[in-house]
Symmetry: C2
Subunit: 144 residues, 2 copies
């Protein structure tokens, strides 16, 4: 078999893993106690406070079980509170605490800078093409 480690998929995996490490390193400089995914959750809930765990899981590409445990951890850290949604008692209503809000404010510039640095020297056109190709791959393989 041809070496799988030089394929396009290897490069895709490599890029996203390096980007996650890079992002985490930079987050740690201003905020030791938060992960990249936790930052994403805070960000989504800040913009869209009505999101359920299920919706967060879909947005972040996790499954329900993983999201349950991530939220659990964030509640434990005091970043979120969790209540029953009065309109649908199956759902949880998650709220960003003032601590969560402060953390989010402190890391937002870091996140924006991360993206900028990572994409330095790449034109908008190239980014568009990159996204287009990735979406084509996804369309080729998603389940019918």
């Amino acid at each position: 078999m041809t070496m799988p480690l030089k394929t396009v998929f290897y490069n895709i995996e490599r890029a996203i893993k390096e980007y996650r490490k890079f992002s985490q390193r930079n987050l740690n400089k201003v905020q030791k106690e938060i992960t990249v995914d936790q930052a994403l959750i805070l960000n989504v809930l800040n913009d869209q406070p009505e999101r359920s765990q299920k919706e967060l899981a879909d947005l972040l590409y996790k499954d329900n079980a993983a999201m349950t445990r991530m939220v659990e951890g964030m509640v434990r850290k005091g970043l979120l509170t969790k209540d029953e949604d009065p309109s649908d008692r199956r759902k949880a209503r998650l709220t960003v605490t003032s601590k969560g809000d402060a953390v989010l404010k402190s890391i937002t510039p870091v996140i924006l800078n991360n993206r900028e640095v990572a994409l330095k020297g790449i034109t908008d056109e190239e980014i568009g093409l990159l996204v287009q190709l990735l979406q084509k791959i996804v369309r080729n393989i998603i389940q019918p």
Copy 2:
């Protein structure tokens, strides 16, 4: 903050996660007992039997601890054996068993087909560009 979930990085992550799921689904059709990463390890060791755990970890983008435990699992399943490397007793010498070899043979066509299906309708030129852009991102962010 602008929505992080529509960025290029979201699309990169999405593509690799979908590809891993797709690959695993197809592997499971012929071989229930193996994961994508285990298949990669068998493949590398088959081509390059002298690879140490450290080298495997680097190739597969894992850390040493993760590799120790993956190898442990594969030895438990009878896919590999593990001995001391006589020339450097810190290292382990991993050997693909006949069972591991049979498994590898049965999944090789699946792996090749996975790549083909995922890249259908994408030209070599586009693939080259995709890889080039991903490598540029990596160069932008790797630690000095």
